[in-house]
């Protein structure tokens, strides 16, 4: 049959959907990049006008920053100060997440309680705490603690718990050199416990008799812990091996680092393109790749090449270390990996001392003043203010999530569980909690992220976390951009890790649905 085509001229460029789509995107990209280039050039111009050189050397220059608490209170360089600040951030984040989860779960359950007074108190808590800005709460708790009496000579002695305007001292355990080898024993105990538990489960399934897998697993762990407590020096044979690895890494030529990174970038791009072609492959071949598809392939390839180039470019940049040596980034990375294995090896030295030590808090005379001593643990005022406020605040949100999650498990589930004769404790454990947990997990993960980021409010009460330390360094050196990039790298990594863990569990728990 003859077909008449009225308009069959060549499609002009400005009517081609694929061209319009990609040209508009590229224009937007160009405008955005142009905007940053203009800002950046101006910043460089202003920097050089004010005499600030722009490099990473400042990170290793000596600096006069003192931290009130943390792994290193008098750091010799900016990079160490930032590391100490990062550790302080993590300290509050991890302890806060644990405390907020426990408190939030309790309050969330209380909010569902049939007990009138418990219910009302839980509601009151949530409505009060989550409607007041966190910063106000941090300031308030700080104000409350610094209104406590100060330590005086009469207070000297040891305490289980002691509060003052310097913070709280309390009895606590501390770890020694033997701790890390002992942890290895504990890790082995957990793995062994897992096996034992699985074995007991199998026994139960085969014989039908209750075989207490939980008790068995716990017992195994306890055995490992007790044995490890005394046997940890046996692991000291690991020390020379780790040192050996470290010296091997030091001997590898530095050029290997960029080669490995560049190869990873190129292989990644190639892998992506290969998978892309595979997904488009049909028995008829690749003939049906659209314009879009080709653009994607080209972009992936260009990205890979740029990544590889960057690896070599960045590896060649030289940085001066604290000791005054000038190293390239590649050498620095190699040094870092080597030092890590050295540090790991030192942890297994046989002369570390008993794994854990339990001590009470003490108040001692330091100079003219009474101060907390080195025993036990001391919670400083800034730490307490940030930790306490952040925990209470996040707990209020977690409570609402827990409540919502439990309510979302339908009433029918409860009735069905009761109808098949499960006891209340059983149906909570077997029916309600697993289902509620799946609903609760993603929003709780968000709250963990919020808590992690909210620790940065510590800057308001001079808690030495990474933002506070960073802004001090920034004021001293004028190196704004690197510090901001370090903050971003730190928080983005932390966020990615938390959401990674949450996503992993989320995938694992997901209902199999059609």
């Amino acid at each position: 049959m003859a077909v008449t085509v009225r308009e069959h001229e060549k499609t002009p460029l400005w009517r081609n959907a694929a061209f319009l789509k990609w040209s508009s995107q590229l224009l937007a990209l160009a405008v955005t990049l142009g905007f940053f280039v203009i800002l950046g050039r101006q910043a460089f111009a202003n920097f050089s006008a004010s005499g600030t050189t722009f490099d990473l050397d400042f990170l290793t220059d000596p600096i006069g920053v003192f931290l009130r608490e943390g792994i290193d209170t008098e750091p010799d360089s900016s990079i160490r100060a930032l590391a100490a600040g990062a550790m302080n951030t993590l300290r509050i984040s991890i302890t806060g997440i644990i405390a907020a989860t426990i408190l939030g779960t309790l309050i969330g359950i209380g909010r569902l309680s049939h007990n009138w007074i418990v219910n009302k108190i839980a509601t009151f808590y949530i409505e009060t705490i989550r409607n007041i800005p966190l910063l106000v709460q941090i300031f308030f708790w700080q104000a409350m603690v610094i209104a406590l009496p100060s330590l005086v000579a009469a207070d000297i002695g040891t305490y289980w718990f002691k509060g003052s305007n310097k913070g709280f001292g309390f009895a606590w355990v501390s770890w020694n050199g033997g701790f890390w080898p002992w942890i290895v024993f504990l890790g082995a105990g957990i793995i062994a416990g897992g096996f034992v538990s699985r074995w007991r489960h199998r026994v139960q399934e085969e014989t039908g008799k209750p075989s207490h897998p939980g008790y068995w697993a716990g017992g195994t762990l306890a055995v490992f812990a007790v044995v490890g407590w005394f046997a940890w020096p046996l692991l000291s044979f690991v020390e020379p091996i780790l040192h050996g690895i470290a010296s091997f890494i030091d001997a590898v030529p530095a050029i290997v680092v960029p080669i490995v990174l560049a190869a990873a970038a190129l292989l990644g791009a190639a892998w992506w393109i290969r998978n892309f072609f595979e997904s488009r492959r049909t028995p008829a071949g690749f003939g049906k790749l659209t314009d879009d598809d080709w653009f994607r392939v080209i972009f992936a390839g260009v990205a890979g090449v740029i990544g590889a180039g960057l690896a070599f470019l960045v590896s060649g940049v030289t940085i001066a270390t604290v000791s005054g040596e000038v190293l390239t980034v590649a050498e620095l990375v190699r040094l870092g990996i080597g030092n890590f294995f050295d540090w790991l090896g030192n942890g297994f030295a046989a002369d570390g001392g008993q794994p854990l030590n339990f001590t009470k808090a003490s108040v001692v005379q330091k100079g003219n003043f009474a101060q907390y001593g080195d025993t036990g643990a001391v919670m400083t005022v800034p730490f307490f203010a940030v930790w306490f406020a952040v925990t209470l605040y996040t707990a209020a949100f977690i409570a609402e999530i827990v409540r919502g999650g439990i309510l979302a498990v339908s009433k029918g589930q409860t009735e069905a569980a009761q109808a098949v004769g499960l006891k209340r404790s059983q149906f909570l454990r077997l029916i309600i909690l697993p289902q509620a947990f799946r609903i609760i997990l993603p929003p709780i993960g968000n709250q963990y992220l919020n808590l992690f980021k909210n620790t940065s409010l510590g800057i308001g009460v001079a808690y030495a976390e990474i933002v506070a330390v960073g802004s001090t360094i920034l004021n001293q050196t004028g190196q704004t951009l690197p510090i901001v990039l370090i903050w971003m790298a730190f928080f983005l990594t932390g966020s990615l890790m938390i959401s990674g863990v949450v996503n992993y569990y989320n995938r694992k728990m997901k209902l199999v649905e059609r």
């Binding site: 085509v5 308009e7 959907a17 997904s279 488009r280 008829a284």
Partner: protein
């Protein structure tokens, strides 16, 4: 290949080719949904497409107004080839009406606003004019009294009739129906089919994907049987239902009738 010469089952004279599909192929990832679909639909012709689910019949009519882009072959609608040219796509979209299985009415707009939206913004009619012809269309599908209600307040059959009126408001030359009665309760199917029959009698070019064999026998000029992404058999309804040639067709008809 065409039906009874040049006269349609509805009594109209068939015109020139309206839709030409030549060697059309389409993949979703690895899965080939269309394998070399070649067919021609003439002006004022009513074509019913049947076939098992997943046979590519819906994909084919979605390619005709470029809801899906085909990857190989040629589709020419009313003399305009479907390519990446946005001018062509705009033209086709305003000339080809489509009715969906799930109605897809806009829940936040009243029935009348649903109908007048596209004429106002695509055909650029003044609002009053669009509303006037919208009311006429609602009368044509038999529910003028529902004009100011929201879609959620209507029954399924009424919603589908609104959807048909909405497509007609663009004054299309071709109407595509993608299983228009599959989501309806049995008692509502008839009211929708009646509207479709009236439309066919008025001389509209139509492609209808459906399982309503009664409709096919009564109105269709031709029946296309799709299986495994291609047209296995085509013919006039009486020929097709009484004397199917292909084994697959026989099997399918024995299960469905």
């Amino acid at each position: 290949m065409t039906g009874n010469g040049d006269v349609a089952a509805t009594g109209h004279t068939l015109g020139g080719p309206m839709i030409v599909s030549d060697g059309v192929k389409k993949w979703f990832g690895d899965f080939q949904a269309l394998k070399d679909v070649t067919a021609t639909v003439r002006e004022r012709e009513v074509v019913v497409v049947i076939g098992p689910s997943g046979s590519g019949k819906s994909t084919w009519i979605r390619c005709i107004n470029r809801l899906e882009a085909h990857q190989e072959g040629t589709i020419i609608v009313d003399g305009v080839e479907l390519t990446n040219d946005i001018k062509h796509i705009e033209k086709i979209r305003s000339e080809v009406g489509m009715v969906f299985q799930q109605f897809n009415l806009f829940p936040h707009l009243t029935v009348l606003d649903n109908i007048t939206l596209a004429p106002q913004w695509v055909r650029k009619l003044p609002k009053a004019e669009a509303e006037e012809s919208g009311m006429e269309l609602l009368e044509r599908v038999g529910i003028p009294e529902q004009a100011s209600k929201y879609p959620g307040q209507l029954s399924g059959g009424q919603q589908q009739r609104v959807a048909i009126a909405r497509s007609l408001a663009m004054k299309p030359k071709i109407m595509l129906f993608d299983e228009p009665t599959s989501a309806l309760d049995p008692e509502m199917i008839k009211e929708v089919l009646d509207v479709m029959k009236e439309l066919a009698l008025s001389g509209m070019t139509m492609i209808v994907v459906t399982h309503e064999m009664g409709f096919a026998k009564e109105v269709a000029d031709r029946v296309l049987f799709f299986d495994y992404g291609t047209i296995v058999e085509a013919g006039t309804p009486e020929h097709f239902f009484t004397n199917p040639q292909h084994d697959r067709t026989k099997l399918f008809l024995s299960q469905i009738l």
